[in-house]
Symmetry: none
Subunit: 412 residues, 2 copies
């Protein structure tokens, strides 16, 4: 039997006055997910623990059986992994912005006019960077979407315990990076970063991409501002831990980063945006093709749009996106055979909160041998009466691999 | 949004034959608490873990987000804090009885005739005590209600790992206090205590209060018998841990002690007894005034009477007290706005057990954005079908601060 964790990012919600005190999921017409509820066992789940507000990253780590309190070392390592840098344990990784600096070192635009093109060429130059006095430290830049990039420092005697260079508000100079724990490793890393920020400006202020932008009246991407430092942790690959052959089907760098971190194969998709405008047909076809035609037997799938609409506080978008996923994706997943599907969210993103919340999320397991309960609808309220009662994200891989027949008895 | 944990001490019960197999809570008429159930999300809760029988102190520690297995070091420290001794981490604190000793050192009355008056004057003398050879150890006595007192030892090289002096049964000499872990600190503390017991007799056997009692034919309070040793632990104040401005509204020293331990402001009330005869109007008015007119945004409230009636095995008293709380207190709490109220017990105190039990307790959360379930009654049975399913005491602060909007996301 194969297995799948199907995450609708940010799906959970809270009752909304404008929807007659229903959540968006409750108000949405979802005949296919209701069918999954009817065929399956349901419940509610705290991705981390009751009331704890998960990030998408920490929630997915938990769903994959890793303790986020142990392995989550900041966003940098997961973002770096997500954009395809082969980070290794001990690397220090950062999220970066391409920003615009004036000649006096003042940041005039933190996102360099939301630059869309040319960052790869700028990164090619930045990747030749060597910091004087630290010639043994390898410096790896990689562009991400838009004005975003990642930075990885590789070498001896580094630490992730450093502050951000991001001044947060335009009109200020980059913040001086400082070591946070008084260790020589942190102080050394901070010193490297401060020199790196200055040097990035020197190296790319006259880059052809930037000269062209200035000519066109656009803010140049002439300085790199790192934040979110974290040391890349070492973990047991999921394929070894659970004896699976796993694949990650996701739209965003952050989730692909979690997949890479866990050693999963990353399945690339075209035309997916992570928003409500994503190409759900491509996502559906990728899932169906992977389940039916690949050697993989375990899948992590993430569909991101509901979370985006929740962050925007847009009930209509969230509701319609849920209905679209139901119609386009779930209708086909209902036809899959020889697979256990664990349908869930990673966290709630209520319209009223415009951010993640600690409310539990609704879950279903479909598959031949689950103890089907009498819940016939998929929403936060109905499934709270389901046969699984209330579980935690950390339980999911154990439950799923047990059903799949991959797990081992503990004891005799 | 403000938040409140409202604890009805010992509220939970077990089915009683005399009540047609209902619990006292189930049999009681509680229209206001039923209204809270109807408006809210319900469930059951294990204050510590399923089947673990909580003390009121360990349960409240857990409800406030402290792990009782880490921070609970015996009743002494919490009782001392509760009666207003400013204990500091490292202090060794004890509960004491004023007892009656005869000239041969035999304890003839463990509670000194349940002495009610004059103990403060006796304590004034005891507080001048210095033990020879241990002149650097500060000795602090403080009278509590009736025959009760607390003792705090402050200084270097002490330990809470010592046995009780309490002989438990009259007609015996005080037990010799012994170090329990073989450490020199424990042996030293035991030696101090043994000398302190003897010295207390010498210092107060002829105290005017005692001479008067003897004249009146009452047992004198002429010796101090310590028990329940514990080292005062260091914890992060609740205001820092959860970024709240907190107040504790409680009747008993034990719960006020927990509040002080957590760094909460203690709101004093007049005419409250901790029993079924307490002044519920004062409690209600204090709560309403604090919520509406104070700067506090988080409240721990404890109403104690149901627990007392449970310990007495008095079903009628417990039932009637629950009804009185519903009528006098809950009716007004229903009118409060802009607040999340978490209604719970700290533990069950079944009539049949006459003590605490490990049965889970019924819970409700009221507030604007909870996922209201279809439970319409507040009792142990109805809420077990509620939308929160089964949670633990350790989850409460996380759930409440998430709803209040005070919590932070873990991850991205």
């Amino acid at each position: 039997m194969k297995g799948m964790i199907l995450v609708m990012d940010g799906l959970g919600g809270r009752p909304l006055k404008e929807l007659n005190n229903q959540t968006t999921l409750q108000a949405a017409k979802t005949p296919n997910m209701d069918k999954m509820a009817e065929r399956g066992i349901t419940g509610i789940m705290d991705s981390i623990a009751p009331g704890i507000i998960p990030g998408s990253d920490t929630a997915h780590l938990s769903l994959l059986g890793y303790d986020p309190y142990e392995v989550y070392t900041g966003r940098g390592p997961f973002e770096a992994s997500g954009v395809g840098v082969d980070v290794i344990p001990g690397d220090i990784a950062f999220r970066c912005n391409f920003s615009t600096s004036d000649e006096d070192g003042i940041i005039t635009d933190r996102r360099a006019g939301r630059i869309r093109e040319g960052t790869k060429d700028i990164v090619d130059v930045l990747n030749t960077m060597v910091i004087e006095g630290y010639e043994d430290i390898e410096i790896i830049f990689k562009e991400s979407t838009g004005h975003r990039a990642v930075l990885v420092l590789r070498g001896e005697g580094l630490s992730g315990e450093v502050s951000d260079a991001d001044p947060k508000v335009e009109g200020n100079k980059p913040k001086e990076v400082k070591g946070l724990d008084g260790s020589p490793e942190a102080d050394k890393t901070a010193d490297i970063l401060n020199k790196l920020v200055v040097k990035s400006y020197e190296m790319v202020k006259d880059h052809p991409v930037n000269l062209k932008r200035i000519e066109e009246g656009l803010p140049p991407a002439n300085i790199i501002i790192p934040r979110g430092a974290g040391e890349v942790p070492e973990v047991e690959p999921i394929n070894e831990k659970y004896e699976v052959n796993s694949a990650c089907i996701a739209e965003t760098g952050l989730i692909m980063g979690i997949g890479r971190f866990a050693g999963m194969d990353i399945i690339e998709m075209e035309d997916v945006t992570g928003g409500v405008d994503t190409n759900l047909y491509n996502i559906r076809d990728t899932i169906v093709d992977q389940v039916n035609n690949s050697e993989h037997d375990f899948f992590l799938v993430n569909i991101d749009g509901a979370d985006e609409a929740g962050h925007d506080g847009n009930a209509k978008d969230k509701l319609e996106f849920i209905e679209k996923v139901d119609e386009i994706v779930m209708s086909e997943l209902l036809k899959l055979e020889d697979i256990y599907i664990f349908l869930t969210a990673d966290h709630s993103t209520p319209i009223s909160v415009k951010n993640h919340s600690g409310d539990p999320v609704p879950i279903i397991i479909n598959g031949p041998e689950v103890r089907v309960d009498d819940v016939k609808e998929y929403n936060e309220y109905a499934v709270a009466k389901g046969g699984m009662c209330r579980i935690r994200g950390a339980d999911v891989m154990n439950i799923l691999t047990d059903l799949m027949g991959y797990a081992h008895k503990f004891g005799a």
